[in-house]
Symmetry: none
Subunit: 227 residues, 2 copies
């Protein structure tokens, strides 16, 4: 889920943004001042920050500069002042957009989408597993063993992906079955054995001495993280 941090001292603005943004499915963090905002940004690493320049504790432009020392995501700056100098300073300090209050929520949402789109494919680093032998690229649906590409069918790949995303942890048979075959097949653990078997064969894995997929009898399976 995409998360957005709002740093603004006015409770009514925070509330306005909270409602407008969370209704679009964004997860919201809030801070009424600069200090707390900086620590939330550092701790939670939101996907985007909306920063009001008029803050009670630290000057907004300073907050912006400090954010940019460690935060590389998009930042939208809000201000009541329609001052060209302030805009220039903010944009040159690393803000990606500057909006003058009051503004319409639709415009804000459109600018958020625009920035997320831009940053989105920039961080197109897809989750990849690689231990020197096995290479799995989840986003591109590619699996290699050594130099050779391994072709996995849709269900095989879905299964492997689910195990990989819970890497190191057990995924129960029911979870796997419900996710991949649907609720109606939640009991058909037979399917699992067959498909896990196919994947193991293709990856060159041995159930009794597993390198990648370990059976947890009576419970489920676990993808072993690289040691």
């Amino acid at each position: 889920m995409t998360s957005i941090l709002i740093i603004d001292d006015e409770p009514q603005i925070r509330r306005f943004l909270q409602i407008g943004l969370s209704s679009q499915g964004y997860q919201i963090f809030e801070s009424p001042n600069g200090g707390q905002g900086l620590s939330i940004a550092a701790l939670e690493v939101p996907d985007m920050i909306i920063l009001d320049l008029g803050l009670p504790d630290i000057d907004g432009q300073d907050v912006l500069k400090q954010l940019r020392e460690f935060y590389s995501g998009p930042i939208i700056v809000l201000s009541v002042r329609n001052s060209e100098n302030e805009k220039v300073t903010a944009l040159d300090s690393g803000a990606n957009d500057y909006m003058v209050k009051p503004f319409g929520i639709k415009e804000l949402l459109a600018r958020i989408r625009s920035l997320l789109r831009l940053y989105g494919d920039k961080q197109a680093i897809s989750p990849v597993f690689d231990d020197g032998n096995l290479h799995i690229d989840l986003a591109n649906r590619r699996v290699h063993v050594g130099e050779d590409e391994v072709k996995l069918s849709r269900k095989e790949f879905d299964l492997l992906r689910m195990l990989m995303t819970y890497s190191g942890r057990i995924v129960t048979q029911q979870q796997l079955l419900k996710e991949i075959w649907g609720d109606s097949h939640a009991e058909d653990s037979h399917y699992l054995r067959i498909f896990i078997g196919k994947i193991r064969t293709k990856l060159g894995d041995d159930p009794s001495n597993p390198k990648y997929i370990e059976t947890e009898p009576g419970v489920g399976y676990r993808f072993l993280p690289t040691v």
Copy 2:
């Protein structure tokens, strides 16, 4: 040198921008209308485009959409109308910023710097594919195999373009169908096979041993980047 294309019908605005921007060392291209603007964008591939929505020949929003079919750099939209709907439409059609006239040159320069910084090294994905045999020019809708021009129909070309813009990554059947045939045909994967087939024939590609378009069974298709 960084180049910027200005598409605006008002001579005084063009002059205002010409002076303000070239004084900062940008190289300026100008067009007083949409049609010429599109061809300059295709020919010169500027580092940024500034587009006025009120154009005499083509509707500005249409120019924007057509630009986005082949141009991936930053686009700033100008308008005399401070309409929220227009802003939302423009931003969702791929504009990176929207400024209401009149505006200050300093603010514009700051926004230009901000966008160029953001796009930075990400330099526009080349709108041309060429591997020595196949040559695809997205901007001019031209495809050549060897010396011969290959004529693709509208849907064929749209399909190829979409695969090319996600080059190397998989594009799902649903994505392709929704984008090209519309939401109502999101299930008709049948269409896809036929059109992919046509394209493959025209490009001289073989599905079982693909040079250009690879099938990912059950999922979608992938345009193979030049190795």
